[in-house]
Symmetry: C2
Amino acid sequence: MTPPVVSIVAKSGTGKTTLLEKLIAEMKRRGFRVGAIKHDAHSFSIDHQGKDSWRLTQAGADTMLITSPAKIAMVKQHGNSEPNLDDTVATYCQDVDIVLTEGFKRSSMPKIEVHRRERSATLLCRGEQHDPNLFAVASDEHLELDVPVFDINDTTGLCDLIVKRFLS
Amino acid sequence: MTPPVVSIVAKSGTGKTTLLEKLIAEMKRRGFRVGAIKHDAHSFSIDHQGKDSWRLTQAGADTMLITSPAKIAMVKQHGNSEPNLDDTVATYCQDVDIVLTEGFKRSSMPKIEVHRRERSATLLCRGEQHDPNLFAVASDEHLELDVPVFDINDTTGLCDLIVKRFLS
Protein backbone atom coordinates (compact mmCIF):
# COMPACT_ATOMS: atom_id res chain seq x y z
CA MET A 1 0.00 0.00 0.00
CA THR A 2 1.49 3.29 -1.11
CA PRO A 3 0.88 5.92 1.61
CA PRO A 4 -0.66 9.35 0.99
CA VAL A 5 1.76 12.19 0.37
CA VAL A 6 1.44 15.79 1.55
CA SER A 7 3.93 18.38 0.32
CA ILE A 8 4.97 21.37 2.39
CA VAL A 9 5.82 24.16 -0.03
CA ALA A 10 6.87 27.78 0.36
CA LYS A 11 9.11 30.39 -1.06
CA SER A 12 12.67 29.83 0.12
CA GLY A 13 13.41 31.07 3.61
CA THR A 14 9.80 30.88 4.82
CA GLY A 15 10.38 28.03 7.26
CA LYS A 16 9.30 24.82 5.51
CA THR A 17 11.68 22.62 7.46
CA THR A 18 10.57 24.07 10.79
CA LEU A 19 6.91 23.35 10.04
CA LEU A 20 7.79 19.91 8.70
CA GLU A 21 9.61 19.08 11.94
CA LYS A 22 6.55 20.03 13.95
CA LEU A 23 4.17 18.03 11.74
CA ILE A 24 6.41 14.95 11.90
CA ALA A 25 6.60 15.13 15.70
CA GLU A 26 2.83 15.62 16.04
CA MET A 27 1.95 12.80 13.63
CA LYS A 28 4.34 10.52 15.54
CA ARG A 29 2.65 11.51 18.83
CA ARG A 30 -0.61 10.38 17.23
CA GLY A 31 0.87 6.96 16.51
CA PHE A 32 1.44 7.22 12.78
CA ARG A 33 4.55 6.01 11.03
CA VAL A 34 5.93 8.96 9.12
CA GLY A 35 8.12 9.28 6.06
CA ALA A 36 9.82 12.58 5.23
CA ILE A 37 11.28 13.45 1.85
CA LYS A 38 13.21 16.60 1.12
CA HIS A 39 14.11 17.65 -2.37
CA ASP A 40 17.45 19.34 -2.70
CA ALA A 41 18.04 21.07 -6.02
CA HIS A 42 21.76 21.21 -5.40
CA SER A 43 24.34 18.75 -4.23
CA PHE A 44 24.01 17.72 -0.61
CA SER A 45 26.39 16.02 1.73
CA ILE A 46 25.39 13.38 4.21
CA ASP A 47 27.88 11.36 6.18
CA HIS A 48 31.16 12.28 7.75
CA GLN A 49 34.47 12.38 5.93
CA GLY A 50 36.65 9.44 6.92
CA LYS A 51 33.85 7.19 8.20
CA ASP A 52 33.66 3.74 6.65
CA SER A 53 30.34 4.47 4.94
CA TRP A 54 31.84 7.64 3.46
CA ARG A 55 34.91 5.71 2.30
CA LEU A 56 32.77 3.16 0.43
CA THR A 57 30.84 5.91 -1.36
CA GLN A 58 34.08 7.71 -2.20
CA ALA A 59 35.54 4.47 -3.59
CA GLY A 60 32.74 4.55 -6.16
CA ALA A 61 29.87 2.47 -4.77
CA ASP A 62 26.74 3.24 -6.80
CA THR A 63 24.68 2.16 -3.81
CA MET A 64 26.11 2.28 -0.29
CA LEU A 65 24.19 0.82 2.63
CA ILE A 66 25.06 0.66 6.27
CA THR A 67 22.79 -1.39 8.46
CA SER A 68 22.55 -1.92 12.21
CA PRO A 69 19.97 -3.46 14.52
CA ALA A 70 18.31 -0.03 14.87
CA LYS A 71 18.39 1.48 11.39
CA ILE A 72 19.62 1.40 7.83
CA ALA A 73 21.18 4.23 5.85
CA MET A 74 21.67 4.42 2.11
CA VAL A 75 23.37 6.69 -0.39
CA LYS A 76 22.49 5.84 -4.00
CA GLN A 77 23.83 7.64 -7.06
CA HIS A 78 21.14 8.28 -9.67
CA GLY A 79 23.42 8.83 -12.61
CA ASN A 80 21.34 11.23 -14.64
CA SER A 81 17.93 9.74 -14.00
CA GLU A 82 16.50 11.16 -10.80
CA PRO A 83 13.34 9.19 -10.00
CA ASN A 84 10.12 11.13 -9.65
CA LEU A 85 8.37 11.52 -6.31
CA ASP A 86 5.82 8.77 -7.02
CA ASP A 87 8.56 6.25 -7.68
CA THR A 88 10.56 7.35 -4.64
CA VAL A 89 7.54 6.91 -2.38
CA ALA A 90 6.68 3.55 -3.92
CA THR A 91 10.24 2.29 -3.54
CA TYR A 92 11.14 3.49 -0.05
CA CYS A 93 7.97 4.37 1.84
CA GLN A 94 5.67 1.34 1.74
CA ASP A 95 6.15 0.86 5.48
CA VAL A 96 4.90 4.26 6.65
CA ASP A 97 1.36 5.62 7.07
CA ILE A 98 1.97 9.03 5.57
CA VAL A 99 4.73 10.84 3.72
CA LEU A 100 5.40 14.52 4.33
CA THR A 101 7.61 16.16 1.74
CA GLU A 102 9.42 19.43 1.39
CA GLY A 103 10.38 21.23 -1.77
CA PHE A 104 8.44 19.42 -4.51
CA LYS A 105 6.58 22.54 -5.50
CA ARG A 106 5.94 21.46 -9.08
CA SER A 107 4.52 18.07 -8.15
CA SER A 108 0.79 17.35 -8.31
CA MET A 109 0.69 16.10 -4.71
CA PRO A 110 -1.66 17.76 -2.20
CA LYS A 111 0.08 20.79 -0.76
CA ILE A 112 0.23 22.95 2.33
CA GLU A 113 1.87 26.31 1.70
CA VAL A 114 3.77 28.09 4.48
CA HIS A 115 3.44 31.87 4.41
CA ARG A 116 5.21 34.56 6.43
CA ARG A 117 4.38 38.18 5.84
CA GLU A 118 7.95 39.39 6.25
CA ARG A 119 9.16 36.93 3.60
CA SER A 120 6.68 37.76 0.84
CA ALA A 121 3.37 39.46 0.17
CA THR A 122 2.19 36.74 -2.20
CA LEU A 123 1.69 33.00 -2.20
CA LEU A 124 3.49 30.50 -4.41
CA CYS A 125 0.27 28.54 -5.10
CA ARG A 126 -2.07 31.55 -5.45
CA GLY A 127 0.13 33.87 -7.47
CA GLU A 128 0.52 33.96 -11.23
CA GLN A 129 -0.54 30.33 -11.28
CA HIS A 130 -3.42 28.84 -9.34
CA ASP A 131 -2.26 25.48 -7.99
CA PRO A 132 -5.31 23.23 -7.63
CA ASN A 133 -3.37 20.91 -5.30
CA LEU A 134 -3.21 23.47 -2.50
CA PHE A 135 -5.53 22.40 0.31
CA ALA A 136 -4.34 24.50 3.27
CA VAL A 137 -2.09 27.39 4.20
CA ALA A 138 -0.05 27.92 7.39
CA SER A 139 0.33 31.67 7.78
CA ASP A 140 1.50 34.28 10.27
CA GLU A 141 -1.13 36.75 9.05
CA HIS A 142 -4.82 36.70 8.22
CA LEU A 143 -5.51 35.72 4.61
CA GLU A 144 -8.76 35.39 2.68
CA LEU A 145 -8.38 32.32 0.52
CA ASP A 146 -10.36 29.51 -1.09
CA VAL A 147 -8.63 26.98 1.22
CA PRO A 148 -8.42 26.80 5.04
CA VAL A 149 -5.80 29.10 6.58
CA PHE A 150 -4.17 27.99 9.87
CA ASP A 151 -1.92 29.90 12.18
CA ILE A 152 1.67 29.02 11.30
CA ASN A 153 2.08 27.48 14.78
CA ASP A 154 -1.19 25.53 14.75
CA THR A 155 0.37 22.11 14.31
CA THR A 156 -2.64 20.45 15.92
CA GLY A 157 -5.09 22.01 13.47
CA LEU A 158 -2.95 21.12 10.47
CA CYS A 159 -2.55 17.52 11.64
CA ASP A 160 -6.30 17.26 12.31
CA LEU A 161 -6.90 18.25 8.69
CA ILE A 162 -4.23 15.86 7.34
CA VAL A 163 -5.72 12.98 9.33
CA LYS A 164 -9.27 13.83 8.26
CA ARG A 165 -8.41 14.15 4.57
CA PHE A 166 -5.87 11.37 4.14
CA LEU A 167 -5.93 8.92 7.02
CA SER A 168 -9.58 8.44 7.97
CA MET B 1 17.33 -9.49 -11.12
CA THR B 2 18.94 -9.77 -7.71
CA PRO B 3 22.72 -9.32 -8.08
CA PRO B 4 25.34 -11.73 -6.70
CA VAL B 5 26.71 -10.90 -3.26
CA VAL B 6 30.29 -11.37 -2.06
CA SER B 7 31.11 -10.78 1.60
CA ILE B 8 34.49 -9.51 2.77
CA VAL B 9 35.07 -10.95 6.23
CA ALA B 10 37.94 -10.80 8.71
CA LYS B 11 38.73 -10.52 12.35
CA SER B 12 38.29 -6.93 13.48
CA GLY B 13 41.21 -4.66 12.67
CA THR B 14 42.45 -6.73 9.73
CA GLY B 15 41.56 -4.16 7.07
CA LYS B 16 38.21 -5.21 5.58
CA THR B 17 37.19 -1.69 4.64
CA THR B 18 40.52 -1.00 2.94
CA LEU B 19 40.21 -4.10 0.78
CA LEU B 20 36.56 -3.34 0.07
CA GLU B 21 37.47 0.17 -1.13
CA LYS B 22 40.03 -1.30 -3.53
CA LEU B 23 37.60 -3.93 -4.85
CA ILE B 24 34.85 -1.35 -5.39
CA ALA B 25 37.22 0.95 -7.29
CA GLU B 26 38.53 -1.90 -9.45
CA MET B 27 35.05 -3.26 -10.25
CA LYS B 28 33.95 0.26 -11.20
CA ARG B 29 37.00 0.58 -13.49
CA ARG B 30 35.80 -2.59 -15.19
CA GLY B 31 32.41 -1.01 -15.86
CA PHE B 32 30.28 -2.79 -13.26
CA ARG B 33 27.69 -1.05 -11.11
CA VAL B 34 28.62 -1.83 -7.53
CA GLY B 35 26.62 -1.96 -4.32
CA ALA B 36 28.38 -1.93 -0.94
CA ILE B 37 26.76 -2.96 2.33
CA LYS B 38 28.43 -2.66 5.69
CA HIS B 39 26.99 -4.24 8.80
CA ASP B 40 27.46 -2.23 11.93
CA ALA B 41 26.72 -4.11 15.13
CA HIS B 42 26.49 -0.88 17.08
CA SER B 43 24.79 2.42 16.56
CA PHE B 44 26.19 4.49 13.73
CA SER B 45 25.81 8.12 12.85
CA ILE B 46 25.40 9.40 9.35
CA ASP B 47 24.54 12.97 8.57
CA HIS B 48 25.58 16.22 10.20
CA GLN B 49 23.94 17.74 13.24
CA GLY B 50 21.81 20.72 12.28
CA LYS B 51 21.38 19.83 8.60
CA ASP B 52 17.79 19.65 7.37
CA SER B 53 17.97 15.89 6.79
CA TRP B 54 19.26 15.43 10.34
CA ARG B 55 16.46 17.65 11.70
CA LEU B 56 13.78 15.54 10.00
CA THR B 57 15.22 12.33 11.45
CA GLN B 58 15.50 13.94 14.88
CA ALA B 59 11.87 15.07 14.65
CA GLY B 60 10.93 11.40 14.49
CA ALA B 61 10.68 10.46 10.80
CA ASP B 62 10.67 6.66 10.52
CA THR B 63 12.01 7.04 7.00
CA MET B 64 13.92 10.14 5.95
CA LEU B 65 14.89 10.67 2.34
CA ILE B 66 16.78 13.49 0.71
CA THR B 67 16.92 13.49 -3.04
CA SER B 68 18.78 15.60 -5.59
CA PRO B 69 19.47 15.29 -9.32
CA ALA B 70 22.67 13.37 -8.54
CA LYS B 71 21.74 11.05 -5.68
CA ILE B 72 19.32 9.97 -2.97
CA ALA B 73 20.06 9.35 0.69
CA MET B 74 17.87 7.53 3.19
CA VAL B 75 17.83 6.85 6.92
CA LYS B 76 15.18 4.29 7.92
CA GLN B 77 14.50 3.14 11.47
CA HIS B 78 13.97 -0.62 11.71
CA GLY B 79 12.25 -0.66 15.02
CA ASN B 80 13.28 -4.06 16.28
CA SER B 81 13.15 -5.97 13.03
CA GLU B 82 16.44 -5.60 11.20
CA PRO B 83 15.98 -7.11 7.73
CA ASN B 84 18.33 -9.90 6.74
CA LEU B 85 20.96 -9.43 4.05
CA ASP B 86 18.90 -11.16 1.35
CA ASP B 87 16.00 -8.78 1.89
CA THR B 88 18.27 -5.74 2.02
CA VAL B 89 19.87 -6.69 -1.29
CA ALA B 90 16.47 -7.41 -2.89
CA THR B 91 15.04 -4.09 -1.71
CA TYR B 92 17.88 -1.69 -2.42
CA CYS B 93 20.30 -3.29 -4.87
CA GLN B 94 18.32 -4.37 -7.92
CA ASP B 95 20.08 -1.73 -10.02
CA VAL B 96 23.66 -2.88 -9.46
CA ASP B 97 25.65 -5.72 -11.03
CA ILE B 98 27.33 -6.96 -7.87
CA VAL B 99 27.09 -6.33 -4.14
CA LEU B 100 30.21 -6.38 -1.96
CA THR B 101 29.52 -6.55 1.74
CA GLU B 102 31.52 -6.15 4.89
CA GLY B 103 30.86 -7.68 8.26
CA PHE B 104 28.20 -10.31 7.59
CA LYS B 105 30.42 -13.10 8.82
CA ARG B 106 27.57 -15.40 9.83
CA SER B 107 25.73 -15.15 6.51
CA SER B 108 25.79 -17.96 3.97
CA MET B 109 26.96 -15.64 1.18
CA PRO B 110 30.20 -16.44 -0.69
CA LYS B 111 33.11 -15.01 1.28
CA ILE B 112 36.59 -13.64 0.86
CA GLU B 113 38.54 -13.55 4.12
CA VAL B 114 41.21 -10.92 4.72
CA HIS B 115 44.19 -12.15 6.72
CA ARG B 116 47.15 -10.29 8.18
CA ARG B 117 49.80 -12.17 10.08
CA GLU B 118 50.31 -9.45 12.69
CA ARG B 119 46.58 -9.43 13.48
CA SER B 120 46.06 -13.16 14.02
CA ALA B 121 47.65 -16.55 13.41
CA THR B 122 44.34 -18.13 12.46
CA LEU B 123 41.49 -17.60 10.02
CA LEU B 124 37.87 -16.86 10.90
CA CYS B 125 36.53 -19.29 8.26
CA ARG B 126 39.14 -22.05 8.76
CA GLY B 127 39.35 -22.09 12.54
CA GLU B 128 37.09 -23.95 14.93
CA GLN B 129 34.44 -23.91 12.25
CA HIS B 130 34.98 -24.66 8.59
CA ASP B 131 32.92 -22.13 6.61
CA PRO B 132 31.95 -23.76 3.29
CA ASN B 133 31.14 -20.32 1.81
CA LEU B 134 34.79 -19.21 1.82
CA PHE B 135 36.05 -19.15 -1.77
CA ALA B 136 39.22 -17.03 -1.51
CA VAL B 137 41.62 -15.46 0.98
CA ALA B 138 43.54 -12.17 0.70
CA SER B 139 46.62 -12.59 2.87
CA ASP B 140 49.92 -10.89 3.63
CA GLU B 141 51.64 -14.26 4.17
CA HIS B 142 51.81 -17.59 2.38
CA LEU B 143 49.06 -19.96 3.45
CA GLU B 144 48.26 -23.52 2.39
CA LEU B 145 44.48 -23.71 2.10
CA ASP B 146 41.71 -25.48 0.21
CA VAL B 147 40.77 -22.17 -1.50
CA PRO B 148 42.87 -19.77 -3.63
CA VAL B 149 45.08 -17.41 -1.59
CA PHE B 150 45.85 -13.98 -3.11
CA ASP B 151 48.29 -11.36 -1.97
CA ILE B 152 46.40 -8.84 0.17
CA ASN B 153 47.20 -6.14 -2.42
CA ASP B 154 46.29 -8.23 -5.48
CA THR B 155 43.04 -6.43 -6.25
CA THR B 156 43.28 -7.43 -9.91
CA GLY B 157 43.51 -11.13 -9.11
CA LEU B 158 40.61 -10.96 -6.64
CA CYS B 159 38.42 -9.10 -9.12
CA ASP B 160 39.33 -11.54 -11.88
CA LEU B 161 38.07 -14.36 -9.63
CA ILE B 162 34.89 -12.47 -8.66
CA VAL B 163 34.09 -11.77 -12.32
CA LYS B 164 34.80 -15.36 -13.35
CA ARG B 165 32.69 -16.89 -10.59
CA PHE B 166 29.78 -14.48 -10.41
CA LEU B 167 29.60 -12.26 -13.48
CA SER B 168 30.49 -14.42 -16.46
